[in-house]
């Protein structure tokens, strides 16, 4: 752990954006207590006021304070995306481990199902699920969780398949250990790292898709504020009150970029092996395009390419 912290602290980008992400979560957790005014309170006489000391992001059409709404929306988004992540991890990882360990027809079936799910773009899958589950917070959580479930199943299964063949697993089997014990004691420790990395990288995807769903009117329903939904409402008044888009877009941008960059840093720190492999792959891609490898700058460009 200390080793990890020392290594991680050298990655300045990771530290800075990690701190921002922590700050966002603190805002989310304490939202009720730190909002400057009631985010639900309509004051029709105060509608569409531009930013001022009183209202940093202005007020919306109904005179609600945009800053307060952005802050509460942070909580809503954090809650939804974290729940969706837990849903995907807690369901996906055990399934992946079990089918990976046992193999056979169950493995075949589950893998084909995940293949089918992977065919569809996340947002499309999510829309279908939300339409079935109904537009609500719960619906969005299920939709997002389900849409990324295959990723976690595949990661857990992949690691399980390779670890299963290690000598210490065979030794455990020989010693008469049951499969639940082996999964818990010998396989899980190997899985936790890639799962944590994958989870951090999935977080920004969830944030963006949750907002996209709300933007389409399929997510969180009014009066609960959500960034995507606020952007949609601001869009209708884009010319009359352009300042309405500032708050939600800045918040969305910060959340997504910090989660993304943190995930990237974690991946490099926690898993030098993958880093090397990925870099090598990217290098090959770049050399094919006629770029010369070997320079750090190229490395960064490659990394940027992956993120795109």
């Amino acid at each position: 752990m200390r080793n990890f912290l020392r290594q991680f602290s050298r990655d300045r980008v990771g530290v800075v954006f990690g701190l921002i992400l922590i700050a966002i979560y603190i805002v989310a957790i304490t939202a009720q207590w730190i909002v400057p005014s009631d985010p639900y309170k309509t004051q029709l006489s105060q509608g569409m006021r531009p930013p001022s000391w009183e209202h940093w992001f202005g007020t919306d059409q109904f005179g609600r304070d945009m800053l307060s709404r952005v802050i509460l929306a942070t909580q809503v988004t954090a809650k939804i995306t974290t729940s969706a992540l837990l849903f995907a991890v807690l369901l996906g990882v055990p399934i992946g481990m079990i089918v990976g360990y046992h193999g056979g027809w169950l493995d075949e079936i589950i893998m084909r199902i995940t293949d089918i799910m992977l065919i569809f773009p996340i947002i499309m899958l999510a829309i279908v699920i939300v339409v079935i589950a109904g537009p609500s917070e719960r619906g969005v959580v299920i939709a997002l969780g389900m849409s990324q479930l295959p990723q976690f199943i595949r990661i857990a299964r992949g690691v399980t398949l390779s670890v299963k063949q290690e000598l210490y697993v065979e030794a455990a089997i020989a010693a008469g250990a049951g499969w639940p014990f082996i999964l818990r004691r010998h396989i899980w420790p190997n899985i936790s790292t890639p799962v944590i990395v994958q989870a951090t990288l999935t977080l920004p995807v969830f944030v963006l898709n949750a907002s996209a769903l709300s933007y389409l009117g399929l997510g969180v329903q009014p009066p609960t504020p959500e960034w995507g939904q606020m952007l949609n409402e601001a869009k209708e008044l884009l010319i009359a009150a352009p300042y309405l888009i500032i708050g939600p877009s800045v918040a969305l941008f910060l959340f997504v970029i910090s989660a993304n960059l943190l995930g990237d840093s974690l991946q490099e720190t926690l898993n030098p092996k993958t880093k090397g492999q990925r870099m090598k792959r990217e290098f090959q891609k770049f050399s094919r395009r006629g770029l010369k490898p070997g320079k750090m700058r190229v490395e960064r460009a490659a990394r940027a390419e992956i993120q795109r």
Binding site: Y40, T42, L44, S45, G47, Q61, F62, G63, P135, G217, Q221, P222, P223, K235, E236, L237, L238, I239, A240, A241
Partner: protein
């Protein structure tokens, strides 16, 4: 016969007075009309049916009126003018109205338009219970005394027959096409006598109408075709108009108007209308059968606040009478002295009325409960962008009702699904509350009285989606429907409105002004007092269009 004319003339005089904010000259009269070109008109929502017998949606009327015409029309000056009719006569006992029809008119399928065809349409309407039948209450049957005459036989005389015949859903479609395709076929293809033939229907995208070369008015229409697009988002429609992707649109946001007005390439109009928002309360579901609850809900809504924040203070007016708006015959300001609207906003009064009716917050969770402990918590169905400001009004309703402790969940629905869902009979109607708007295209109170609040107009027949039933309301409506004494009729209308204020079948909300925009090169188009847009005499100034850099 004279009574008819006089009454219509009076009704329309009000309408004309109300339309004074109608700005901008409609015609460039010194210019010669030009032939050719396609007019692209973007509307807000998909229609679940284009068959006039099953849909009275105002936007759908704008689509089918290109192909299907009525016997009469209420024109932009609010006068009743004959279209497919030429003249009419009323028998001495006022029970037979004989209408002489225009000769030499043919339907798009080539079959002749004659007395038989007109009689068929109305007899079929009665037999199959077309949605508008409550407007023809008292109509017995129709027949054709000669090739070019149709006679309406009435069981009881009724004054509003002719203006009601001008209501767009009562247009004359081809009986032959109807018998071949059935109602389902007509839902996507309209065959009438109109200036344009319905060529293409693409669900959720557009309807294409092409010039009818055999149109009975020589030299008309000027346009080669009209394309009616479905664009649900008002901001997108406005942007399309500004960029010249479309030639005309409706339901523009009031906040965009100042900007559009400043653009010399656009013509923007604001018109007074009879379109009033209201919330349907399903009386089949408790507690909406409770009059005190309905009254309390009415007092809980800040109508002036809605006008201010959703319609920029200028795009709507607070309701001054239930259902009727200025311009409708018999309209009377029903506000109490010194109040700004009917059911003037008073949240405290609403709360105490609910408490008196046995609804209060018993468990301290902020939502009020009835005596049996059931929470007052409802789903409010709404569309988004169907009528300008609908979604915003719904959000404010949620906030206002929340203030008095009533929980509201919004359910935003797509246009066609919404229309279908609020057109169900009482046993199938799933909604508790739904936000709709209501207009009176005939400018005559007969329509709301017979079609909106009458027990006989329960969905799926009329537009009584509340399943509201009041013997007094029905009695006053029937009296007004059958009397030919105009003074008496007006008395009944006022009594009817007073009774509505007692019983509050719906939540009354502001009346909107229509906001329409078109490119400045579109000339000769008309906007009827009934909010309809016939493009029969519209034409495009090609030179000006090219100058504005619009190539399509």
């Amino acid at each position: 016969m004279t009574t008819h004319k006089k009454r219509v003339a009076r009704g329309v005089a009000y309408m004309a007075a109300a339309a004074t904010i109608n700005a901008a000259p409609l015609f460039a009269q010194d210019m010669e009309p030009q032939y050719g070109g396609e007019l692209i008109y973007a509307q807000s929502g998909e229609k679940f049916s284009l068959f006039p017998g099953r849909n009275t949606d105002n936007g759908a009327q704008d689509i089918w009126l290109n192909a299907c015409e009525n016997l009469f029309e209420i024109n932009e000056d609010s006068e009743l003018v004959p279209v497919l009719a030429e003249s009419w006569e009323v028998s001495d006992d006022e029970k037979t109205v004989t209408i002489k029809l225009r000769e030499g008119v043919a339907f798009h399928d080539g079959t002749p338009f004659n007395g038989e065809a007109v009689a068929f349409v109305f007899n079929e309407a009665k037999e199959k219970e077309f949605i508008y039948m409550s407007l023809l209450e008292g109509f017995d049957y129709a027949d054709a005394p000669s090739e070019n005459e149709v006679a309406f036989h009435l069981a009881a005389p009724f004054a509003a027959l002719l203006p009601n015949l001008a209501y767009k859903p009562l247009c004359i479609f081809s009986p032959t096409a109807y018998q071949e395709m059935g109602e389902e076929g007509m839902a996507t293809k309209i065959v009438g006598t109109g200036p344009f033939t319905h060529e293409e229907y693409v669900k959720g995208e557009y309807n294409l109408f092409v010039k009818n070369e055999n149109y009975w008015q020589d030299e008309l229409p000027y346009l080669d075709s009209i394309r009616m697009l479905v664009v649900p988002d008002p901001a997108t429609r406005t942007a399309m108009l500004e960029s010249g992707e479309i030639d005309r649109t409706v339901q523009i946001s009031d906040f965009d108007l100042p900007r559009l007005e400043a653009n010399p390439e656009l013509t923007v109009r604001t018109m007074a209308s009879t379109r009033q928002f209201y919330v349907v309360l399903n009386h089949m579901k408790a507690p909406f059968d409770n009059q005190d609850v309905r009254l309390a809900l009415n007092y809980a809504i800040d109508k002036a606040g809605i006008v201010q924040s959703v319609f920029a203070g200028t795009g709507a007016t607070v309701p001054m009478a239930p259902t009727l708006s200025p311009g409708v015959y018999g309209y009377t300001d029903m506000r109490k002295d010194g109040e700004d609207s009917i059911f003037q906003y008073d949240a405290d009064k609403a709360r105490s009325m609910l408490t008196d009716a046995g609804f209060e917050d018993r468990n301290g969770d902020g939502t009020i409960e009835g005596e049996d402990g059931t929470e007052l918590s409802f789903k409010l169905w709404t569309r988004r962008g169907g009528t300008k400001g609908d979604y915003q009004v719904a959000q404010l309703l949620q906030a206002f009702l929340g203030e008095i402790g009533i929980g509201i969940d919004l359910e935003v629905m797509e246009g066609a699904a919404f229309s279908a869902a609020v057109s169900q009979p009482p046993e199938d109607a799933k909604y508790e509350m739904a936000l709709l708007s209501w207009g009176i295209p005939t400018a005559d109170p007969d329509e709301p009285m017979m079609y909106f609040t009458h027990t006989k107009a329960w969905k799926p027949k009329g537009a009584n989606r509340m399943f509201f039933s009041s013997s007094e309301i029905d009695r006053l409506a029937d009296l007004a429907h059958t009397t030919t004494d105009q003074e008496k009729r007006k008395e009944y209308v006022v009594a009817w409105m007073a009774q509505l204020l007692e019983e509050a079948p719906v939540i009354y909300l502001p009346t909107i002004h229509l906001t329409l925009g078109s490119r400045s090169y579109v000339h000769g188009d008309r906007i009827l007092a009934t909010d309809n847009y016939p493009a029969v005499s519209a034409w495009i100034d090609q030179e000006e269009k090219a100058r504005q850099g619009i190539k399509r």
